[in-house]
Point group: D3
Chain length 183, copies 6
């Protein structure tokens, strides 16, 4: 395969300027870029408010100016670390390099002999996702932390209202609400 195709993984809850800077950097190093939307099956919680399809929409609109071919693909969690790389290799086009700073992700790909490169964004990425959702719930300013296309999609899908409701009206701490309405 002579095309250099890179893979970048994230949950994008929501896609924000931290992701954006990294992706623009990677785009200058590869011929084609696969963006895997992880935890695709989760939604409607504080940790994962938006569906995979909604996140596809955010990312696609935010990166449409990139000069290279991109693939934005939902990836369901497989919940078995030892199958994670095989799972991803099945869902996305062939790739020759993975971009990640996550030690587990790095290890899993390295054990399969796939090159992994670091990105500039280290710790702040994790902070950003939680912080942006916290601001959304509490009515504090967040728009400047995401590309304008994301704000637009969130308005179209009524995203903030959902985030606030699933986080509960009177508490920021998300609850475990599995299986019903009462204990």
């Amino acid at each position: 395969m002579s095309i250099r195709r890179g893979l970048f993984l994230g949950r994008f809850q929501p896609y924000h300027n931290g992701h954006h800077a990294v992706i623009e950097q990677i785009a200058s190093e590869v011929d084609e870029l696969i963006i895997g939307i992880g935890s695709a099956q989760w939604s409607h919680s504080f940790d994962n408010p938006f569906t995979a399809g909604e996140r596809v929409l955010m990312v696609r609109r935010a990166i449409k100016h990139l000069p290279i071919t991109t693939y934005v693909l939902p990836i369901e969690d497989i919940q078995r670390n030892s199958l994670y790389v095989a799972h991803i290799k099945t869902i996305v086009p062939p790739f020759s390099v993975v971009y990640s700073n996550n030690p587990l992700i790095r290890r899993l790909f390295e054990e399969e002999g796939i090159p992994v490169r670091r990105t500039e964004m280290v710790e702040r990425e994790l902070y950003w996702g939680v912080e942006i959702r916290r601001r959304m719930v509490n009515g504090e300013p967040w728009e400047q932390l995401v590309p304008p296309a994301v704000t637009e999609v969130l308005r179209e899908i009524n995203g903030l209202e959902r985030l606030r409701q699933v986080t509960a009206s009177d508490a920021v701490v998300p609850q475990d609400l599995r299986g019903g309405g009462s204990a």
Copy 2:
């Protein structure tokens, strides 16, 4: 559908007077009532000590005096919020209104265009389930918090002995015991 059929969801670990008061209230507003027993696949833990079948027995006996047709049906967790409403619609007869105070449950049904009504019982329901199990484990009085039929069923199935044993003999805090007997 001219029959007004309502849906009420709970885990009923165990069914208690809090549930009972709400269900008697709802029963006066609908023609038929579906009671969904959530987290049906879990059992033998402090959070979910009783099987779905045992909970069916508790609820059925406790509500047999109600003057309307009732459906008491186990509902397994599906663990994907976005499929939860479709899952429930498949398992239970058609319904036209859901009774719930849980913000997530409310949101999920509302996104599908299904009417949701509040019940009188707000916060105390959650408290009750945990509190009753705590009392059972510690040998404190709990019978007055549940309908007599529930006490009867718990005696038939040896429920307290199981709850105490799975909670561990020397600790109230439940342990994560998955996969075996030693670390």
Copy 3:
């Protein structure tokens, strides 16, 4: 949602001229087009020789000339018909019309109140997929039945060799080989 976004579903084993004609037709009727690659988790069999990622590659290259925004997204089978529509709605961006001639697919979306339109291609599509794979296995001409981009991808991934091997060296009839090498 003022954007008319359409959904077209297929397995694309492989993407062929029958799909291509339909997609070009649909592309003239909508603002944006979602192409869902069904049975995404299957591969390495006569019925489903190519992985989801390989099929993403085929479709993306074959339709890159289309003047509208397209989303090419893998969709795993969920194996419960009653959850199929909810599952798809989660994985792909919001859409307002589905294009399908399959009676089951049509029924499932119609029960959820989603408009479904017929396409020109009726029976022949089913025939094409099987016929093309049969030709590939038997060494008969097939390139004229698919867009040039598909031939290119199949060469890159060594697709014919895999198809022939999984179909077995001495029989066209695919075998059920689950779980091991001997009975």
Copy 4:
């Protein structure tokens, strides 16, 4: 347990006079009767056209005249024979006897030491379900083969229209349609 509680399993696609005769017979031998609706997760196919909830409705209405307590409970297939009995014991109230003529079902319960009794209905039950659906698809008379309550429910849920559509307009033979609309 001094209550004799019996278990009868079926798919009830739809509930018909063959099931009805057996259930009336069993009802005269036990104190309480559990009716398990098997293959609860399947629907929208020729083999399993109706959802679990719709089948709950059929059975409940058809047997409401029985003088004993009944439990009509959906049971999802677990697809591992060796877990089937444990799965059922979890979902339904405790029972002391199973009614079945199916050799596999009989074997599985017998290996767990649970008594199994034969019913009068031997081979014809299998025939009835398929035959009734075949008649529904082809517009031949079928109402006399089911209790009036079933005809009523099928009309309420538009059951025949669904059965005909999922069976395809031009063929009685059901197709395997998994994963999308084209091959």
Copy 5:
């Protein structure tokens, strides 16, 4: 890894002289041998009558004379071909060569760069499993086709009685009995 560890896969329903000859051959070529018992989760059907644990017992007793270290390990089907090799690599100790004549198995390991060798037994292995079970059901002689240890285990677990019962009393053709006792 300086130890040459080989992997051989089978379903062993039951373990027979065809398997035995191949395993004795392989044992002379490797330092250690892993025998994977495929389709481990299935049992109680004509195709897969015996549980994984029962098959472990058969194989272990039949090969206890081998002079090398052996690992007899159940392997559940994963039902996604693209994850099969990663799944096996997780469940069994590291291995450097696979023995198989099955074209799919060969292909899957070869795509992962793992060497695969042919065994002497080609077609007859498939025949043997079905033929032996057919003879067991019909009361024809079969003991000479399996090692004595297998006959011994089958007697201990009452294996023939189960096989005959799940195959149905009046038909050799296995039925699809999923989900309940009536159609």
Copy 6:
């Protein structure tokens, strides 16, 4: 069954001297011993760093001196307590006694009428697994807490390097890293 076959369950992350002492004790009480490796599907995390196959290797090498027949078998978590015993009975050869101090494990087997015996090792077993992994991550001495065979296997599979990397380079606390590399 005249053979006394015992079952002992553990996760063995890693196999250590605490397990070893208990197993040598049990080996003096039974004819054959089954060692079930629980949580078989998990790996590459601080809690479960090693794959099932790697743990099979550790245990097998460490107990090869035992004078009785042993079965070392991976057991995947089934995540439904009520099916746990049926699941295990399927995967392993028939057994007549279980050795466990875990109250949940004891309860589950006792409810199925299977005898359970206590072992000498009470609380310390849990401590040992966590403590050994903590020492490995922090570079403190741990070899004296495991049999020499385990040290050997860990060296062969590069086990410490993996444990350290998945635990993250700058923190002992394991992170939840599911689904991707950024929030």
